[in-house]
């Protein structure tokens, strides 16, 4: 950046906003000249000279935040306590605490919303599995009669239906995870600056919730099948 109105942009923002070097870009009601495009991961999407930014904000020679880098991370606590002694009127936080304030878990109401969505998904999933397995059991009434004629007892029939439900669920989980990655890829293609995390912890959590829902949803149809009269089942059309 050579001039006061020069702006650097990272590659993701450049792609999202369709801007290239030499373009004029309006930000904070000010026209900036795009001086270069940098690789993303530098801590911000856009970079402008601080003096120009201070002038635009009416805060010449003022700063609201200072970032300090310790040479060794294990010294962070000591450095903070010494700085707090020297500058008692300043708030000093480790960067990890500061960053945590920006995560989704600190957005007011977001956790409640996420939990409500999970509960809703579990209820819908449970109903869908219940209806699917109920229909399956009704459609296979004769097969259940055949199993009984072969000497299958109630636990065998319940186990068979629950295992089928679990197998379907496993397939669903795999498809769901795959679809999530596809949707994520689609979103990132459309909105490159968006950040979507699919963590192993959440995949595991979703899988466990789905499996519990599948087993619970199939329980009643399985029990119903195990109680079915064998002769009625064999003559079912």
């Amino acid at each position: 950046m050579e001039g006061p109105d020069d702006l650097l942009v990272d590659d993701l923002a450049a792609e999202a906003k369709k801007i290239k070097v030499g373009d004029t870009f309006n930000l904070l009601n000010h026209d900036w000249r795009v001086a270069g495009i940098v690789e993303h991961g530098k801590g911000a999407r856009l970079f402008v000279p601080i003096l120009t930014l201070q002038d635009l904000g009416g805060a010449h020679d003022k700063a609201s935040i200072f970032l300090l880098k310790c040479t060794r991370p294990e010294h962070t606590e000591d450095v903070m306590s010494q700085m707090q002694t020297l500058l008692p009127n300043y708030k000093i936080h480790p960067l990890k605490d500061y960053l945590s304030l920006m995560t989704s878990t600190n957005v007011p109401g977001l956790n409640v919303f996420v939990n409500a969505m999970i509960a809703l998904a579990v209820c819908i999933g449970l109903l869908v599995i219940f209806l699917t397995m109920y229909t399956t059991v009704v459609e296979r009434t004769r097969d259940i009669g055949v199993l009984k004629s072969l000497g299958a007892n109630s636990p065998f029939i319940v186990r068979a239906i629950l295992l089928e439900s679990a197998a379907l669920c496993l397939g669903g989980i795999a498809a769901g995870v795959g679809l999530s990655y596809l949707v994520r890829a689609g979103f990132l293609r459309a909105f490159p600056t968006l950040s979507i995390l699919i963590t192993p912890e959440w995949i595991l959590r979703a899988g466990v919730i789905a499996m519990i829902g599948a087993v619970l949803g199939a329980s009643y149809p399985a029990w119903m099948a195990s109680r079915r009269d064998a002769v009625e089942a064999l003559t079912f059309d």
Binding site: D143, V146, L147, S149, L150, G151, A152, N153, A230, L234
Partner: protein, 254 residues
Amino acid sequence: MAIAATISSAQFEESRHSSGQELVKKHVEPILKTENLWKPYRARKVEVPALRSVNFSVQPGESVAVMGPSGCGKSTLLYTIGGLASATRGTVLVDGNDLAAMSDAERTKLRRSKIGFVFQRFNLLPTMTARGNIAIAQYIHGDGFDPHRFDVVTKLLGLEGRLNHKPSEMSGGEQQRVAIARAIINEPKILLADEPTGNLDTKNSDIVLQMLRQLNKELGQTIVMITHNPEAVTYFDRVVHMRDGIIVDGIPAD
């Protein structure tokens, strides 16, 4: 050699000494016996007796055909002696076990080990291959897959080349042979067949009946078969006629 002479011949088994000269008759308990068997069925709000004091017995190794008009109680008799339905009165003795005194779970266990069923509509599991349909009986039996027994039975019924086919890919005769294989894979004491040729053409009917006779004559399999087909009864040792829920006679087939 003492020969009992006053007891009905149906209760005796004939065997020869190693010399092959003398006949020895010894008392044999029926493998299947019903006494005063009653079973009603409910038609809307009316209760109609399907079985009315049925007395019926089958000796080990015997093949019996049960004939009678539709609605006379043949299938009800088969399901009751197979432990799929319970009688309201009377006793059903299967290999010495009284089904009437058993719980549903006990009857299921007995059915698993002592009874094989063959149905008119084959009743194969449509999503499984012939191999799966036969093997599942072994799994339910509890001893797991026995490849030797599996090979013997499938060869006996000529199914070696059809094992990887699903029921929808097989003819009726083939499906019924798979059903027979499934029924005998666990070496049941009694094979109960509910009109096994009812859905087959003449050629396939003959094949299935010949196989049932082969099972009876060569392996000593006890068979009780329900049929409408007068020609089918010639393959059996004895024919029993039913009418209106009772057995009206028991005459030799020939």
